[in-house]
Symmetry: C2
Subunit: 402 residues, 2 copies
């Protein structure tokens, strides 16, 4: 019997009708003779509502307890989905992270899976039960509950697919695949049939929310083929994420926008070895990732450093830099009124035309580029937030011929 | 170091302000040098809202999954309370049923505690942490989550107090003690200072909701002294429930009302041995408790049996009786328009005056008695629902001189 892992995002479980629809998809797969393991996220905006409840009580709650709070969201949706599956007349059982053998490290809020002990799941599958696993959560070696961070249910699904040697791993959301750009912003964006892990990971990092980048990394490591598809058009083939995807036809996989981003300037650092290094060590200690780092030496013998961080980390980054004494800098300025537009594709650096095309497209639209970075797989620019949608559309249009 | 167990009901955790108030009570006890274990219920109406969510999906959800759903309520309130305690600057840790070592049997929805392994709690107390335990829930030997049924958090608290050999077990709600009648219905009801386990258990069975009867039973078994008190007037002494309570002054502990009750008539049964027995065996198999059983032989050689059940069980009782073929009865009739009024006190049967006083009080108020039962500790009558409050007041007034 082959095993199928299906993951249902919060948008597929938003109300009773959606839960029943997910139950239909699960039982249709079960009817084909597969062993079905379905991983669930919290319903709709549950996670945000739980955070708001915590916020009423403490601005800096203990991370361990925040995980206890948050993991209840997936517990609720797993139980409700089990009831819907039961209502259709199929045998099923829910397992929470600790019951499903999902063992993590103890980094509350951002735990990483260390090990999966699939014994209980296998036992339930052997009894011909559909197994519903609460995503996003695990348990550490001290028996404390942990969560894997936003998008963690994708990681749960891929990790289970790997541990169970599953045939398929389907990621259901309300979106029917990966597009060359966000269709709500670029109407002629095209659905991609296949994409390889590296490009998908870049897209995920750079703003495509339908799939978590850590999950893609894990899928690559264990060779798990992912299909991203819509729960509301479950008959339509989605986008396959796999090694050696057939992407010959296109150099560019997609154009992405990330609005939740901030640019931080650290002005007039002493121009001595290690000054900038200290800044990035400090950010790293505080679990803040920096991107698009630029340095410029002024004529006063001082150095200006600027970089981007996630919008969620912006205040924290500013605070730790100020508290550290700014490494002697005159100023730390945080600008949240920016967006990051990226073009992702294979072999970007060997195609200098990509950069030129981006500059042309933005220049023709009269959009100013504030920062630039490029790598083998992507080319990103920072623009003013209110120009972001136009920038995506202009770049997407320019690349249609690629 | 002495250990104090405190239990906070849903009404003491209804919103952020109430949660902070509970945290204040807990930390004040901790400051006195006690080891504090606080057991929490779900916030306010969480349990009802979760049941409503389940109901949207399935009218008869699997009990195991209902327990997964329901136990999230206490998980949430434990985490929120932990944040409030943390905000006051005290070290604390939450433990869910499975983490706190609360091992139950596998009767989902009505599980009974088999054993408590207090190792983890003791370890946390030794680290000088306040321990917050999610009440109402446990884990069975297969590692499945269970719940203890309504009011189960009281049972969790008393069981933990016994297992930890606690000095005190305080049950906090919004009510400041046990009264001789419901003060909202009888304004001159009096708070009881002390009451013994047996009378308290009767009061709980007969409608006093502030303390669960199973918890009282357990407290009696292990000699746990309970103090019932208000979280919103935590400085005021509440009611102590203990062995050999000083109740010499009063024969009558209280007058109670239960509106959630139904009377069931089974008419014209064959008058042969075992006919009635079958009915009560059937109810027992379906986990339905019957009370105030009466039988009357008519002049047609048939027997009429009637009894009361909880309002929650009324439809189910009617259904199973009808499905069973009614044991040959002509009719099964369910009347939900009734209430049970009870007088609880020590040595009722040796004071025949009690029954007479009740009859007098009701007769003077022109209230018809539909059924009667008495035992060593109580005297109960069934009246029409709309006469219930008046009946309580009349009886309470009549007994003021006792």
């Amino acid at each position: 019997m082959g095993i199928i892992v299906q993951k249902f995002g919060g948008s597929c479980l938003i109300d009773a009708a959606a839960v029943k629809n997910a139950a239909r998809i699960i039982t249709e797969e079960y009817e084909k003779g597969s062993g079905v393991v379905a991983v669930v996220s919290a319903q709709g905006d549950t996670t945000d509502r739980l955070i708001a409840k915590a916020d009423e009580i403490s601005k800096k709650p203990a991370k361990r307890e925040l995980d206890v709070l948050m993991s209840a969201g997936e517990q609720l949706s797993a139980a409700l989905l089990a009831m819907a599956v039961g209502e259709l007349g199929y045998p099923c059982v829910t397992l929470l992270g600790w019951q499903a053998g999902i063992v993590t490290n103890s980094v509350f809020g951002h735990a990483r899976i260390r090990d999966i002990d699939p014994e209980r799941i296998k036992k339930e599958l052997a009894k011909k039960r559909i197994v519903l696993v609460a995503g996003f959560q695990g348990v550490d070696r001290k028996n404390d509950m942990t969560t894997l961070g936003r998008g963690g249910s994708d990681t749960t699904a891929v990790a289970l697919a790997a541990a169970l040697n599953a045939e398929k791993c389907q990621i259901y959301s309300k979106i029917d695949g990966i597009y060359t750009a966000d269709p709500s912003c670029v109407p002629d964006a095209v659905k991609i049939d296949e994409i390889d892990y590296d490009c998908m990971q870049e897209l995920s990092f750079l703003g495509v929310k339908v799939l978590n980048p850590r999950a893609v990394e894990l899928a690559k490591k264990y060779g798990v083929v992912i299909e991203v598809k819509s729960a509301f058009h479950s008959d339509k083939t989605g986008t396959f994420v796999k090694e050696d995807a057939n992407m010959e036809k296109m150099l560019i996989s997609g154009v992405t926008k990330m609005s939740n981003v901030a640019r931080i300037f650290v002005n007039d650092l002493e121009d001595v070895p290690g000054a900038a290094c200290g800044i990035f060590e400090l950010l790293n200690q505080n679990d803040i990732q920096a991107d698009i780092i630029t340095m410029a030496t002024g004529n006063n013998g001082k150095v200006d450093v600027s970089f981007c961080v996630s919008g969620d980390d912006a205040d924290e980054a500013e605070r730790v830099l100020l508290e550290s004494g700014k490494y002697g800098a005159s100023d730390v300025i945080c600008d949240k009124d920016v967006a990051k537009i990226s073009v992702v594709g294979v072999g970007m650096e060997s195609h200098p035309g990509v950069g030129i095309a981006i500059f042309e497209a933005l220049s023709n639209s009269n959009i100013n580029i504030m920062m630039i970075t490029s790598s083998e797989l992507r080319f990103s620019v920072i623009v003013k937030k209110d120009a972001a949608d136009e920038a995506v559309a202009a770049i997407h249009k320019r690349f249609k011929k690629y």
